[in-house]
Structures are given as C-alpha cells and as structure tokens.
Amino acid sequence: MPHVTLPRIATATAWRDAARGFLGAGIPPDQITWGDSRTDPGLFDTPATAPAAGTVTVPRSFVAMADKVVWHNDPTRFARLYAFLWRLRDAPHLMNDRGDPDLARLRRMEKNVRRCQHKMKAFVRFRDIGQPGDTRRSFAAWFEPTHHTIEPTAQFFARRFADMDWRILTPDVSVFFENGHLRFAPDHPRPTLPQDASEQLWVTYFRNIFNPARLKVQAMQSEMPKKYWKNMPEAAAIPDLIANAPARAREMAAKAPTLPPLRAAAAQAQQAALTSAWQGPADALQEALQDCTRCPLHSHATQAVPGEGPQDAAVMIVGEQPGDMEDLQGRPFVGPAGQLFDQIANQAGLDRGRVYITNAVKHFKFTPRGRTRLHQRPDAGEVTQCRWWLAAEIKMVRPDLILAMGATAALALTGSGANLLQRRGTIEAGRDGRPVLLTLHPAYLLRMKDAHKRQEATAWFQADLARAAQVAGVAPLPRAV
C-alpha cells in the first residue's frame, strides 16, 4: 500500500499538502497509510508522493482542528484526520456534529494538544546562560512535552521574549531563537545548564506563597501533573510542604494570641494624628478650623488663621505660624514678615494672588512680655496636631509644588526640620509624595544682623520663589522622583 512519510518539522503544512493532493485525486483513506520519519512503514508499503494539489473545499473549522491534531503523539493521527476529511466531502455539516464518534475523538486529540501547548507555555523554566559583556541576554530550558508541541508553541515565546536569545531543548524537536530568528532542530542531546541564582529566589517565593492551612493536593496535581515536576525547580519543595502543612496549621491554631508590639500603639496614635479625616466641603474648612481644639494653643490665640488663595492653585506656600498681626486680622502673611515676603515675591515674579498661602500651625503661639506678645516657635507636638489641617488643605488644593518656608514648615511637610540651610533650594518628596521645595522663612531674613549675609540669604530666597513662580505660572515641574 502507498505509505506517506511526513517530516518532523513543518508537519502541519506537509500533511495539508498531501491530504489536499490525495483528496483531489479521489484516493480513499483505506488506500494509503501515514507516518512520520520515526514510524516504520509496513512490510508491504511502498513510498507514495501525493499528486499535485488541485482545489478542494473543506470547512474552515476542519483546517483549524487539523492544524492542532497533527502535533498529537498518536501515530494514527494523520490517518484519522484523512479518514474524517474523506467523510466531510459529502457531509460538511459533520463538523458541527459533536456527537459523531470520529469527530469527538479528533476534538479530544485537539484538546490534548492545546492543553500540552498551554502547559508548555506555563512550565518551561529558563536558566540564564549569558556571559558577562553580551549585548543580548540568553537563556536556555530543557523541557519534555507529551505531544509534538514545540513548533506550534514557539511563536508564543518569540512574541513574549523578543528582546533576548533563548532556546528550548527537548528530546523531540528543539527550538532556537537568536537575534530575532526562529530555528528548529531535531534530536538535541540533553544539556547541563549552569546554576542560576534567581532560581533559589523563585523556590523561596513558591514555599512562602503556599498557605499550609488549606491543603488541596488533588487540585494542584490535576493542573500540574507529576510528569512535569522533574524539570521545574520549585517542584522539589512540594513533598516537604505537604508533609509539614498539617503541623504548621496546628501550630498556628495552638499558639495563644500575643500582645501587640510596643510600637503598635505609637503607630496608631501617629496615624490618628496624621490622617486628616476632614471630609466636608471646601468652603466649610475655614469654619471647622475655628472650632479646633486639637492642641492647647487655641485657648490663648484670638483666632485660627486659615490659608488664603485660589483652591486650584498650582503652588502652595507654607510658613510657620500666624504672628501678632495675622492673629488679629485672621489672614496669613500680613505682618512684617508678610510684607517682606510680598516685596521679594514681587521681584521674583511670583503673583501672590495665584498661589495658596498658609501656615504649618494655624494658631499664634506667644509669651506675653509687658504690652507685647513675643513669638514662640511651635513644638513638634503642636506641629503634628496641626498637620491634620494642613493635610486637609493639601487635599483640597492638590498643588503641583509645595514651598516650605522655614524649619517648622519643613518639619510638617517632610518629617524633618533639621539642616535647613543645607537643604534649601532642593525638592524633596513630602509625606504624601508631593514635591516640596525647601526654602528659608522671611522672618529669618528680618532677624539677620549682618547685612552681607542677609543680602546673600535674600538672594537665595528670591531664587526659590522664582522657581515656584515658574510652576505657578507656566508648565508644572516634573514630579519629584
């Protein structure tokens, strides 16, 4: 009987061409036998070549199915496909008859191949075989598929790992991907692959992502059959994980609840202080601020001084706390330091009307001295308490940049007020991640005696304001990294 031998590489096209030829010539399935280069033809078989292909019409769904089934390891696959193709000639609707035993068998084989392809995509494990100095990274894997799935699955890996070289070696056909080109070669010997440090990390991950309280070995094995385990580094950990799981679960249950660590209370208090729970509408913020009793400062000051400026300002400027005049008038930056700020801001091109200006602490802290009130720096506790309001303002305005003037503002916004002279002019990430530009406080300039130094500090201050002005007026700065 004529025997068709199909190649092991590009089998799908070879089968299609042969089948098309035989079908066109009207040769029935019992007149030919099929095999690949590893199957021996029968004693009475003679090599056959398919007649030149004419045009034959087959349902598209058959072609798609055949393209999978040819990769099955069942030696009868080619003959079964051709036999069904023969039946389809007069009854193309058979493709939709899922109850037909021949089709059911082919569909099952197709499903096996698809599953084998899927498992190959999942369970191939690469090891790094690159040398230092290589321009492209290279990886290799040894894999033992059940069916001949290397060729139909290679494209998947080519689409996924296009920027590196890789090879998947198997006892069947192996695939090489070098500089963007795929190549297949049969019967590659099993290589010894070098150790790979990342593999240890992967096993660590596998061991720890497992929850010993819910052991479902069956569920694991039905999806990850044992035949794949020998080439998967993590599988070596499985017996140990299973064996120890009940004991670990019991241990968790038996252990008495422990007392919370010392830092728990501190962390919770810190959280309560940090998180601004202000949920009301933006207009109501000022009013709510007036009722604030979060720290004792409210009992001596005239009023709380809220921030001022457009609620969609790109820049927010934060000072220390209201002074004498601010406390009386209820507006920020109207006293001597405020006037100096206005003057330098003017020179720097910063329009006060376009920025939101506020203080880190909203009440005036002072000690009475005769008929005057002496400014006192707010302590860390007061700054922490008042951050609740500052956070609410930041949440409302959502500035692209916050300008922190002075150590208190730096403390409130970045968590540290130290070394301001070294840090000024730099942008740091704030507590909530927003960029914070650090600068001096105008009151610091006012207090400086040395005219030369004062001039120098004023120039710094002006430069920082100019930088903020750029954000306020033109394009926003890139976010701090």
Binding site: I209, T258, P260
Partner: protein, 411 residues
Amino acid sequence: MARLSLEQKLAILSDAAKYDASCASSGSTKRDSRGGKSLGSNEGSGICHAYAPDGRCISLLKILMTNFCIYDCSYCINRVSSNVQRARFSVDEVVKLTIEFYRRNYIEGLFLSSGVIRSPDATMLDMVRIARKLRHEENFRGYIHLKTIPDAAPELIEEAGHLADRLSINVELPTDRAVKQHAPEKSPEQIRRAMADVRLRKDIARDRSFSGKRPPRFAPAGQSTQMIIGADGSTDTTVLGQSTRLYSSYKLKRVYYSAFSPIPDASAKLPLISPPLQREHRLYQADWLLRFYGFDLAEITGHRADGNLDLDIDPKLSWALAHRGLFPVDVNRASRALLLRVPGFGTKTVGRILGTRRHRALRYEDLARMGAAMKKARPFVTALGWSPRALTDSADLRARFAPPPEQMSLF
C-alpha cells in the same frame, strides 16, 4: 536590626501576600514585544505558571511592597498589633525580581499590594512608581495588577489605571457592620466610592473623542475585589447579595471569596478554625450560576431555610432537586435557558447540543461525547434511547449525589 537580604525579604513579603486569592492574568489587551525593544506579552488568556499544594494557581509574582501597616484589621496578618517580622522592598528590588522572574518564564507579571505606611497617598505613590519604572524604563509588557488604597489621591489612581492591567480594592467582609467591627480604620463607603471612581474612569476611557480617537485604556482587565468568608456571621445569601450588588454597580470582573484561614499570630477576636473551603467552593459555583447561567439570587438560596448553600451538593443540583416539576427536559427540544439549568450541563455542552441537534436528534451516548457529566444529568433529561422514568421523582435522589453519611466521632 540586621539588614535583611533580598531572599529574606521575599520570604516575608510573599508570605504576607498569600491571603489574597486573586492571581488572574487574563482579559487584558493583547500585546507583545515582537519589535525586539521590549519584554513580555499578553494574549488574553491567563497562564498559571505553577500550582502550590494549596491548589491555588501561581500566575503572578504576588508580593507586598511592605508589610508595615498602620491599620489594625483583626483578620489580617499584617495588622499593626501583630508580631510578624516586618520588611520593606525598595522600588528597584521589586522591579528586578519581576523582570528576572519573568525572563525565566516563572510568572505572567506582578501583583503588587502593600500595607499602608505613613499615609495612603505615600503608599500608593510608591506602588505607582514601581509600575512606572516597569513600564517606562524596563519596557515591560506583561501583566500588572495593583491593589489600590481606597483613600489615595485621584491622580494617583488615574496613573495607576493607565500603568496597570487590573486594579482591585478589597471590600474585605460582606457587610458594612462587619467591616467596621473588624477593620476599624477602613470605611466601607470610602471603598465603594473608590470602586465607583474606577468604574467611571473606565467608562470615560471607552468614549472616543470628537476626532474618533480613543483615549488610553484604563485598567483594561477591569477591577476585582475580595471578600473573606467565615470571619463574621454572614449567611451565603448576604454574601451573594453583596457580590451581585458589586457586579452590577461597579462592573467588577470578579469577586473573590476567600475562606478565612488561620494566620500566624492571630488576633484573639477571630475564630481559629480550619478554613471553610467547601463553603468557598460552593460560593464560587453559585457566583458562576449568577453570572453565566441566568440564575437569580432568590433562586439559588430561596429554597434554603437557613439562607446558606447546601455544602454536600452543588447549588445547581440543589435547585434542580427542589424544582423537580420542571424535569426531565427533552434535550432535543428544550430551550437554551432550560438546558443551562440541567445539572451536569455546562455552557459549552449546551452550545454543542444546540449546534448538533440542528442536524439530527441526539442520543444518550452523544451527550456523554459532548462533555456532559451524565452521572449527574441522567435523572433530569430525556434523549433518544433514554428516559429517567421514576428516577427524577425518586425519594433517594439527593442521597445518590451527597457524600455518604459519616458516623460522628465518639471522642
């Protein structure tokens, strides 16, 4: 304290992440790296690269950025009052782990979650920074799932949605009361607002502009959430009611049910029982009936006196046994909707039945070849050569399916 090595950190922070059930990598936009300039692909269907002995799929590198947390949720291993060892990854460490694992074909991508440190915004910003670096510097085209922090600023959520394939926010427990009791710092309203926000952004990203241009896709694989089962007293009716509301209100892709499992160093507030895995399994089955089989919530739990699903038999079988008047159905005539209600018939089998019976009448053996679970379906269908006769109404029908009764332990 000694500095932790990368491996130690990975051990701590993957251990801390294992209580999130989701590990899906499916349903995103199709993309690949064929140009040779980037790494990774996504082909629509997810791939499980390994399975742990707990039966769960490992598709993504599922880790916490840090397990330091300022919240005190009693069901969580990372709560502030727990004594577990703490660690924190740097941005570069997470990026390196993801890329190196991906190159070795261990994973489909990254599922990044985090304890809340400093403030919600600061935490979210660090997570966004990781995703940004993966996408823009490493040209990573694999899957990214970010767990969003409900109170984080909208622009961070916006950026997260453009970098990630999926966003998720856990509702944690089935009722608001339970959330307030067990997670005092979390606000159920805030969580819902955050899910609504993600849905709206997704809707907006679907609208074409005047010129017909599409805006960048927002979280193309949708959003999902997780509910812990068995930590509070909610019935299955409550749980499923909550998930139907979530599916309809926020167009969630998935609601994950996670049987409350004992954790190391558990809080005294919660029961340390073995996790109700069977209940979790039944809830998933019911969830599928609601989404793909045309069942109503009232149909699934309505016939159950205590409002809980039958643990011994699956919810569809349970429904069919309670509505035997509708059966047996004739597979050669019944409508699609009715076929979907037959126990043992899945959506694929029903599709095959409808396709084949256009050409010829179906026999009993055909059904088995089409993938139907005939052991289960047998009492409920008629076909050529098969009639269940009295079997449909027999009194012991339930007993044929339920596991055999077990004698209680005497000790």
